[in-house]
Symmetry: C2
Subunit: 238 residues, 2 copies
């Protein structure tokens, strides 16, 4: 069974929700038969690469909060992250556009390093001091640390069209599936779970989706040229 | 939508069926949103690596045919391959165990080269003179030609446990889905198509599976900590 997770690097609930989902998956009896795939979702799609701003100021402005209230909101997220064993810097983080990171995640997928890069980007954004925004060499450093080739990564960053269609296709698919925010989990293309739900909810969703995997409808079984343990059909047609 | 194709390198109908499916896919309006994945299926699972024999002798023995009848059967497959534009050597091919090739295909998947390696293995087995069976260096040559690292490939071949679980998991899943032979096509985990059906059948199956993609059932939508275009939920719990 496949689980697809739409998320954004700039989304704290995606970072927390991923950990909760992974806790549920670790306790799921059929976990060896579950494949997890990252899908791209930008919270702020058109955002310019160099439009970087402090998180606290952004929160205060967006919600009409005082700086102290914004700090309280971040402390709350930080407490929930800590409850999942995640490091979270509640002061001094930046936010910005994530298009290039999503393009890199698709590049990493081709190299079998997507899960590693995603975790490293979350870790860098939420737990480390140096910003991941507006700094290509920071992204190169993170990508190289998970085993990607530096020149390959620089090539992707230098070409804004590289993997751009893959990012857009993921986003179109999210819209088609009815996702308006992230994290958004799709289990076996049957069940959707929206938000950083408790691990118990993910555990129930995994069990439910697994239990209801529907049998296939076979199309045109007759007269198929096929090979099986007893050999291949040897047709005498025409 | 994802299409999974269970197949074996030693299976001529898999080679022919793949071409027919690809013809249908090329004419499918939503082809950009279709992802094709290879799944492992060994026709002769326990077969020893060095148990290599000529195809014509194997056919004659298995079906109690004369050598001339076996040649006729191969000519028939060759004619159907030719009709799909595929080269097919009807004389002088070998057959043998394919476990190592499936392990390599899983290795190639991690490197983003699975589709390329699968096509190269089919091409080598069915259209080229040098056998792909019982000769590790032949497999290294084929894998390197599609961009894999020679040392990495030799490492996989030298370690019989490498990717063995992935091959077995694919085979268990085939059994669970009801596949008893290959090629076996699974479209969107909804429809199954068995055998090298005509391209028209694949085209209809693609249209049917696409048209019936079911909407997701959302689990526990309430009170989710999530981020959307308008910002992130700022919970004040506990």
């Amino acid at each position: 069974m496949r689980v697809e997770i739409w998320s954004d690097i700039a989304c704290p609930w995606c970072y927390v929700g991923k950990a909760r989902f992974e806790k549920a998956l670790a306790g799921f009896p059929h976990r060896e038969q579950v494949e997890v795939v990252h899908r791209s979702f930008e919270l702020d799609p058109g955002r310019a690469k160099d439009d970087v701003q402090p998180v606290l100021g952004m929160l205060a402005k967006k919600y009409g909060m005082s700086e102290a209230q914004a700090q309280g909101a971040e402390d709350n997220v930080g407490a929930q992250a800590a409850a999942e064993g995640l490091a979270y810097r509640t002061r001094g983080r930046d936010t910005g556009g994530t298009f290039d990171m999503h393009r890199l995640l698709h590049h990493a997928k081709e190299q079998g390093r997507q899960a590693e890069l995603l975790q490293a980007l979350y870790q860098a954004n939420f737990a480390e001091e140096r910003s991941v925004f507006g700094d290509d060499e920071r992204l190169v450093e993170i990508a190289v640390a998970v085993g990607l080739d530096a020149d390959g990564v620089r090539g992707v960053l230098a070409d804004p069209g590289a993997y751009a269609d893959d990012v857009r296709a993921d986003e179109r698919e999210a819209a088609q599936l009815g996702a308006t925010g992230v994290p958004f989990f799709v289990l076996g293309r049957t069940y959707g779970v929206s938000g950083a739900q408790p691990a118990e909810v993910f555990g129930q969703a995994l069990a439910q989706a697994w239990g209801e995997r529907s049998p296939l409808t076979l199309i045109d079984q007759g007269d198929a040229d096929a090979c099986g343990p007893d050999g291949c059909a040897v047709p005498q047609r025409g």
